[in-house]
Symmetry: C2
């Protein structure tokens, strides 16, 4: 792989691009904002004038963008990747978008002999910086093998789940479980607090059993401190659950609990909590039940 | 502790009582069914004619019964523990019952100078046999210290959570989280299956991240085999969630997701699944979405 393009230098994309530079890859970057581009150029990257320009100079293009419309625009739009792409370009979309959108974009790419993988990530900014993201990949096996050394610079777990769109299906599954596990913890701990029992002691008594989870161990210590600094923002979890529910409803799959937790996230956004960590889901319950789940309550 | 009484020799109580005998405790047992009593007598226990009779012969009485009414009857009813108890008797109720009922029963006990602990367990029959249950205890600290060596014969984790009723609050918190984590796994995996993506691959891709949980690792391998042998039966989880919802509603705590998962359990019972493992919650979703989450789908 001679030259890599990177489009989208946000909170996640910027440290991911930096890790590719550190491993010695020649990198051409693009973002609509000049500041992160200047930072990456200072670190050794080249800049390009457009997404098409990135594609024209590189063999593998990574996109790391907020959601489906931004990815469609960057790939299929005016001045997009497909305008500049030479046949044989490999496009790796690491954004978290709707799986059906990944399939649509990949179909448009194949008309121009561009192969696409969807490769969304889990782990947030700290793991993006460390290069230890979990990367869930969908797309052809040979393209996966071609991209794997590049992806391994950014993630410690790189798993091919299946055909194009599968990476985003795994990501949606992940986000459904995380949101509901946080809500489960919240219902349990608000009940404990209102019963006059220490949520911290309940946490210690149950964490080693069947109720144990990564969510419980990651979020309870923060909840007990009333610390809802992100982490992973509620507004981003809303985006992911919207994609999950849209995908499910397109397929005729009812998701009653995911739909309820979406409404809880909407209530938190209406209350101004959208920039807080998704562990802040517990605040919906605290308000409903007039109790606080903190150490000492 | 000279002599221990054990009332309730069911699936859980019988192996728990056996573990006390193995550790050399003198044991007096009672059950309404003659067979398990005969088994324990053959293993070295004495039998008694009634709950009152057990209490009259012992210093510490353990009850391990299905639910609140059985415990109230065994302790407060005709021929119950309080009829035979000498002042200073320690009653350890290891049944999973409503926390407010534990508090009521303890108040009645204290009128007769009987001290009570609530000490429900988690781990099921295999851990009852091994003596490695998780035991969550509520009640006075000195009574807890007195009972701890006895409880340690039956459990590997013995945690005092707080005052009387706290053990059952922790148990309800545990059961809320377990039910919802199973439902979360189910929604995620049914979506994956209907998207044409292998649930097994999705499981492998996400288990190491924030979506990881003891439920996921304990139940997904069984779900992938279509194995819903209990384990922990749906009908028992219904009992626990009923206690959770009753307790929450007595306190004015809304539990919208626990209430939804209760309705899912009710639907499974209506369909004849009540004797199956609670991992079978996924069958509700499989039926709704017309898909099976099994290896190879």
């Amino acid at each position: 792989m001679k030259r890599i393009g990177f489009i989208g230098l946000g909170i996640m994309g910027k440290p991911m691009a930096r890790n590719l530079l550190k491993k010695g890859y020649a990198l051409t970057v693009y973002d609509i904002r000049p500041d992160p581009v200047a930072d990456l150029v200072a670190a050794g990257a080249s800049s390009a004038a457009s997404c098409a320009d990135v594609a024209g100079q590189t063999d593998l293009v990574i996109t790391m963008l907020p959601n489906t419309p931004e990815v469609k625009n960057a790939v299929l739009g005016n001045g997009g990747v497909l305008e500049g792409a030479r046949p044989g370009l490999l496009l790796v979309d690491m954004s978290s978008i709707a799986p059906l959108a990944s399939q649509d974009i990949a179909a448009r790419c194949s008309e121009k002999d561009v192969v696409m993988l969807d490769a969304p990530v889990s782990g947030g900014e700290p793991k993006a910086i460390e290069g230890t993201l979990a990367i869930m990949v969908g797309g052809p096996e040979d393209a996966f093998e071609q991209a794997r050394p590049v992806l391994s610079c950014m993630g410690s777990s790189v798993t091919r789940v299946g055909d194009i769109g599968s990476g985003n299906v795994a990501k949606l599954a992940n986000q459904i479980i995380v949101a509901l596990n946080i809500a489960a913890m919240s219902e349990a701990m608000v009940l404990a607090a209102r019963s006059g029992v220490s949520p911290e002691k309940v946490y210690q008594a149950i964490r080693g059993g069947l109720a144990g989870s990564t969510v419980l161990d990651a979020k309870m210590p923060l909840v007990l401190k009333g610390n809802f600094k992100p982490g992973f923002r509620i507004e981003l979890h809303i985006k992911d659950l919207r994609n999950a529910l849209d995908t499910a409803h397109d397929l005729g799959v009812p998701l009653p609990l995911s739909s309820s937790v979406m409404e809880i996230l909407q209530a938190l956004r209406a209350d101004g909590h959208q920039k807080e960590d998704h562990g802040g889901i517990i605040q919906f319950y605290e308000k409903l039940a007039h109790v606080q789940v903190r150490s000492g309550t």
